[in-house]
């Protein structure tokens, strides 16, 4: 007889409670994204290059016999804690980790724009944000697509990073500090690298 009295059961109440909570949670997540979507995240970065060397070696990954291979030793210092423009924290509530990378950008006769990633690092939330790296060698080979590094007057190194958020899109930020350097005119003749 109690079958007529029950309009909703525990299960249907639990269902509507759960669905309502999930919708509210989705709205909060969108709110979290919106509060950080448009902020300026630039941070001053100091890059200094101590040593540059150039070789011309066998490149088995490219279409030609020999390519230029550059070796750069650099110093990097930055404190990625607060952005300069807005003075809000870089690790705000919508940031899980940062992916930093040092890239070299230059022009050659055959290509108008070359960009090569030399080094990268993942900075997790809670880790030390002060970077003070000295005499760092590049993590990845600085191969050129051809022989355009020799006597190249202007190679620009920039530190950029990707913000990996909790919710929303991944913004790409360029650190406000870069260094330009020329490459030498001659190759080193030692074979090993």
């Amino acid at each position: 007889r109690s079958w007529f009295v029950k309009m909703n059961t525990v299960l249907s109440r639990a269902n509507s409670l759960f669905a309502f909570s999930l919708s509210v949670m989705a709205a909060l997540t969108f709110g979290c994204f919106i509060t950080t979507a448009f902020k300026d995240r630039r941070v001053p970065v100091d890059i200094h290059v101590s040593k540059v060397m150039l070789k011309n070696v066998d490149d088995f990954t490219g279409p030609r016999e020999r390519s230029d291979l550059g070796f750069i030793t650099f110093d990097l210092s930055a404190d990625i804690l607060y952005s300069t423009v807005v003075h809000s924290p870089i690790f705000d509530w919508n940031v899980k980790q940062l992916f930093l990378y040092l890239s070299a950008e230059y022009t050659t006769k055959s290509n108008s724009l070359n960009q090569v990633v030399l080094w990268d690092k993942i900075v997790l939330r809670g880790e030390n944000t002060k970077l003070n790296l000295r005499d760092m060698k590049s993590k990845y080979f600085f191969f050129d697509d051809g022989n355009g590094l020799r006597a190249n007057k202007n190679i620009t190194l920039t530190l950029s990073w990707n913000v990996v958020p909790n919710a929303g899109i991944l913004p790409l930020v360029a650190g406000s500090g870069h260094v330009s350097l020329p490459f030498p005119d001659t190759y080193e003749t030692t074979k090993s690298y």
Partner: protein, 102 residues
Amino acid sequence: MLSVFKSIPTHMDYKGQKLAEQIFQGIILISAVIGFVYGLIIEQFGWTVYIVLAGFAVSCVLTLPPWPMYRQNPLAWQPLVPETSVESSQKPQESLKKKKHK
């Protein structure tokens, strides 16, 4: 063992159901606002989630079981009339019709 669960009374009357729904919607929304503001202040979204989860748990306790406050307005059924076997087959149909009018 399932028959034990089926025999636990879980019904609320209609006004009680409406009250329960208002209560849990209010609790979840308030905990959402508190969680949003707190997470924004301490710059950790994890705390927003924890606070909303706590609101969910409180709502479960307050609105899922049929507490007496949800049974304050029971339906007024027609009194039982002692019947013969013919009338007893008509009785359920009558009470169905009355239910649809409401």
